[in-house]
Amino acid sequence: MIKAIVVFNNHGKPRLIKFFQHYNEDMQQQIVRETFHLVSKRDENVCNFLEGGRWASGKNSDPENLIGGSDYKIIYRHYATLYFVFCVDSSESELGILDLIQVFVETLDKAFENVCELDLIFHVDKVHYILQELVMGGMVLETNMTEIVTRIEEQSKLEKSEAGLAGAPARVVSAAKNLDLPKLPSNIQLPNLPSFR
């Protein structure tokens, strides 16, 4: 089982958080911080595994209990400015997970056309939807990239077709916003029109 998937940048800012067992928000942030602390200090050319038993050993808090015990491993990959970190238990193959991370990143690359950190920042929802095609409830769902990309595209089409008319004004608006007009009062209260009932 995969217990958690976290993506953060070189400064430890979270870009995607997906936990497959419940932690409250504070705990989630703490786990991200600790993971960043552990992963970021590792050299580029060392192995991509960290053992749960040694997960931040030597610190007062016992983060081993944050995510499991010695059965757990952190498996990560570092791409440009982003760390992709998976926390898994012993039922997953270490090298398999590394492949999975690769599939995930390549899928992102296809979906965003040359993915960069900004894509993840502004489209975290889409990243989630892509991840949902790969992993479900902590178990690997699909690893075939073409299948995943097809499904994502179909869903985008579905989304577009639904947006239709209702979506149009929104797009105009966002275009207008991008013009960076002098700030409009954002809380214009339209008069309450009588309804025709």
Partner: protein, 1243 residues
Amino acid sequence: MALKKVKGSLERVFDKNLHDLVRGIRNHKDDEAKFIAQCIDEIKQELRQDNIAVKANAVAKLTYLQMLGYDISWAAFNVIEVMSSNKFTFKRIGYLAASQSFHEETEVLMLTTNMIRKDLSSQNQYDAAIALNGLSCFMTPDLARDLANDVMTLMTSTRPYIRKRAVLIMYKIFLKFPEALRPAFPRLKEKLEDPDPGVQSAAVNVICELARKNPKNYLSLAPVFFKLMTSSTNNWVLIKIIKLFGALTPLEPRLGKKLIEPLTNLIHSTSAMSLLYECINTVIAGMPNHNASIQLCVQKLRILIEDSDQNLKYLGLLAMSKILKTHPKSVQAHKDLILQCLDDKDESIRLRALDLLYGMVSKKNLMEIVRKLMVHMDKAEGSMYRDELLSKIVQICSQNNYQYITNFEWYVSVLVELTRVEGTRHGSVIASQMLDVAIRVKAIRAFAVEQMAQLLENSHTVASSAQRNGICEVLYAAAWIAGEFSEHLRDPRGTLDDMLRQKVTSLPGHIQAVFVQNIMKLYAAILVKYEEDEDNDGIREVSDLLVEKLPMFVQSGDLEVQERACCILQLMKYVKKLQDKDVSCADEVAALFAGELNPVAPKAQRKVAVPEGLDLDKWINDPPSDSSDDEGPANSLFIPDDSRMMNESMTRPVVEELSDDELERRREARRAETQNNPHYLKLGASAKGSKYQEVVNVEDIPVANIDLSVPLYVPVTENSPQSTKRLSDKYLEAERQARKRDKKRRHGKKSKRRHKSESEEDVPVVHKVDIMGGEMPEGATESGDEGNLELDDNDPHKLLDIDLDRPLDADEKLPVRTHRIVSPSAEDRPVEEKKKHHRKDKEKEKKRKEKEKKKSKKEKKRNKSGDDSAHPSLLIATELMSPGHEAIPSPGEEEEVAPPSAPVKKDTTPKKEEPKDDLDFWLSGQDAPVAVEVTAPEPGAAADVDSDAEDTSRHKKKKEKKAKKEKKEKKEKKEKKKKSKVANDEDVDSGRRDGFEELNSDGPPLPPMSSYRLLAEDSNIKMTYETRVQSQQGQQLIVSVIFTSLAEQHLKSLEFNVMDSLNTKMDRLPGATTHDGVPVPFQLPPNSFNEGQFAFQVQSINVAQKLRGTLTYTIKTEESSTSEKLDFKLYLPCTAFLIATPCSSDAFARLLQGGELSSKYSIKLSSGGAPFSHVLAKVCFYGHFAIVEQIDQSASLYSCSTQGHHICLLVKANGGGDVSIDGKCADGSLLSNVMEEIKVTAS
């Protein structure tokens, strides 16, 4: 209405979308928190609006904020609103938010059951997929129970995209609702052979997760997995299966043998490192006795370790450490490689290498390895790695009772050197090693005491670097050893001075306490010595010194130190008084500490039986208030009990000599306690412990063997880490020389044993450890049966330890979806269950009211606009309110449960033990020629000490005979199976009948009834079908077809097609035309059957339908494959659209009086001699009616169609075997058709 919409979108113009939020946060780097607080306020505003798009936008923003660590649980209800939207876009946003923020304790989740159910059965596969995805993240026991059946249905969906998700989510359902496992397992098993690789992989995944925790229950699946392993090319699936076998093989050794060949083939052939690695792991776990394979693994691992990829190197070492446990010799051959890894720049790899090293030491190489580690320790940066090294050194040396240590002087000096490691946390580990060695190796005491004296002398260096947890712990050991074995001290007086230095008071309390105690011991020793020498000045001087210095301990803040110091100071004053009178009291003082100390076995305490009448859980005093300050267990080296015990035994004789009243009383009490307490060692008997004396005879220990090149006393220059030569190195050199000499000598003798000159025995043993078990309470034995490793009670897998081979019982069904019953008790039940949450009740009430309002609004709207598209909203509220819909399953779904039970029965009908037998047969390997090859001793493996190989060849003939016999038996069984299959359909029915038998518990048993009708049959295949409907989907009908293969060959690419009529259309894959069939999602092996479901959309239900259809399939023989076609007519009666809905007699009466049911119809049928109850049961079963009331020979029945028609029947038995039925309904044609159908089926 339209205006409102416009207004909504105008307002939206100024809302922030997710994009704006992200940008805003990036632009407000300085006051991010403030900006977000402002955003959250805006979001709250947006959530209050009616426009679902605005809400969805707000929820999307919340999801982003959740990632930044903001709690969004307050918006849970809004999230559900967005989830319930009709639009995919919004629904997806809602489910994403839910999957990120909901969890088991989220209360609003109980409102979602019906919404999720609706989404699961949605026509749009992406709706269903996002629902499944979301559900996988917030599954609760309630949801699992309520939705298990729906997910079961989805497992046979025609779309692989849904199927694989449904299969995966079953795992989550099992975890929360273990009862689902047995009913669902047959279908899960069937998915292992799904034509879609994704579904197959999902099924493998789920079973692997299940089997990981309870492997023994899944042993019977081994043949299936074996087949998959040899046929699959999907590496993901292969890895999972191989991992699963790794868990199974330890339980069934024969499985290991069967696996060796395919696994070794894979190891040789695969290019995927991940697969190779898992194969190796499974070989290690499963077949440790197969030397050839292990050798192969070690070779391959060496390649991995030598690889430049750090990941492979790491994994190679990891796997190596597993081999180490069973084949230390094979690993030791690669010592060079592993030692190299100690120098690797990657810490993870170094640590892995360390783990290995620990298993590779021998008497011969221990010193060398430890020296190497100590060099590393000097070089290592980072205290963590250094600590790890330190503890590894201790571990290596102390393992197996110091098995590999030949020279304890060397070890003690190593320990002393380790005390100079900067900033280590392992001071206490070193200390306990020192104590252990000094106590248990008598011959080393003199040397150890000298070293400890040195340590004490240099204590200021140790103490100055004192971190709380640091190295100063060793002073604890040093002080104790120097005091306890003071007879070996060269200069007791000097050591006493060292211990009385002012600096000592800065040490932690528990160490000071030991100092105080041992100062007294030292004093006693010195006193004895001086009195022998009649050195009165010396006596006076040393006594004065003590009386002068002890008060510094008396002032200590630590209670233990203070108490001891007080006590000893008093004693000193008393002694001094005697000395002033010139009374020699050395003997008395020495008597205080007389007697020898025996080590206590670590398990001794646990082995002491609890005396009768002692309740360990009872409070002795009232529990302290929670404000009690936490004393925090001192960092003691011993388990608290032991340390007290030790001090106890040492101070006891003091009691008699003390005059102090207070102390006297306290001691007295404690002594009484001690005497009654079996946990304390009694000085008398056990101190003389004959066992100890016998085992250790000081003279026997070959002290003389110590090489003279090493002086016994080595002046430890104060802190000499720079000096290249260590004390311990000398021993190493000495040993090397000794060995050389030894070799020469033997060379000279030309010993015959030359070829094994390097064997272990050659290493001279300088000291012996007293390998004594330590003291145990009487009657207790050392053999610790501390209980096997079992799953933690909290582990949900514990509940999943379920026997899966046992056939399903009649009552083992998935709970069928029921409406919540209106009766107050049921409504309140969830609240009662969790009485803690009292407010919940109120909240619920509030929410319900809200919803009621909304609902009425919606209804009004709907009535006005004529928009009758059902809103998939929170239907549960509707059900809570409406008294008309009461409980009880709809028959369609109840029946759904039955089919999965059928395959199980098929497997197990002839005998209960059969699955086991099958497995045995499979494992015996006679049906697969491969296995024979494996068991036959291979030339390469001939030399192996395979304990089974010999066995196999001897019994081979016997086995063959046996196998033949088994084969015969199997054939018989097969025949039986065939027969039983005929009976099987009846079995299925009888299961279903149970429900009705409850109604008519009296009277003779009912004849078998089945809702399955024959659809078509030819020489190869038989199809039976039944129809299923759901109350909320007025126009949808599911036809579930059981395909039974009658052919001897595989039937493949089945396609099911039905010609659409104006009224009825079959659901096809997206993009398919009406001429395309729907592919059946499975293949049919010979003599198997499987169930497929096909959905139809029906406009009007008041006329029975007859549809033409065709089934095409391919028969696959070894040479060729032929296509076949089978035409059929699918009959969909009107009763198919009825749902037996329970109805109270009051509601029934009101319905009849209401006047709405204007049409009437009557039929008469002859019962043909069957009792009335049978006729009634048939009408209920085939017609889908529920009994409202039954009085003697008449009964009123009720049913409701999927489109909401009420049908009321009155069934009466007229004498002479006739039964008359009168019906009322609003729709005349529906009523007449239904009743004519009943006439046909029930008579």
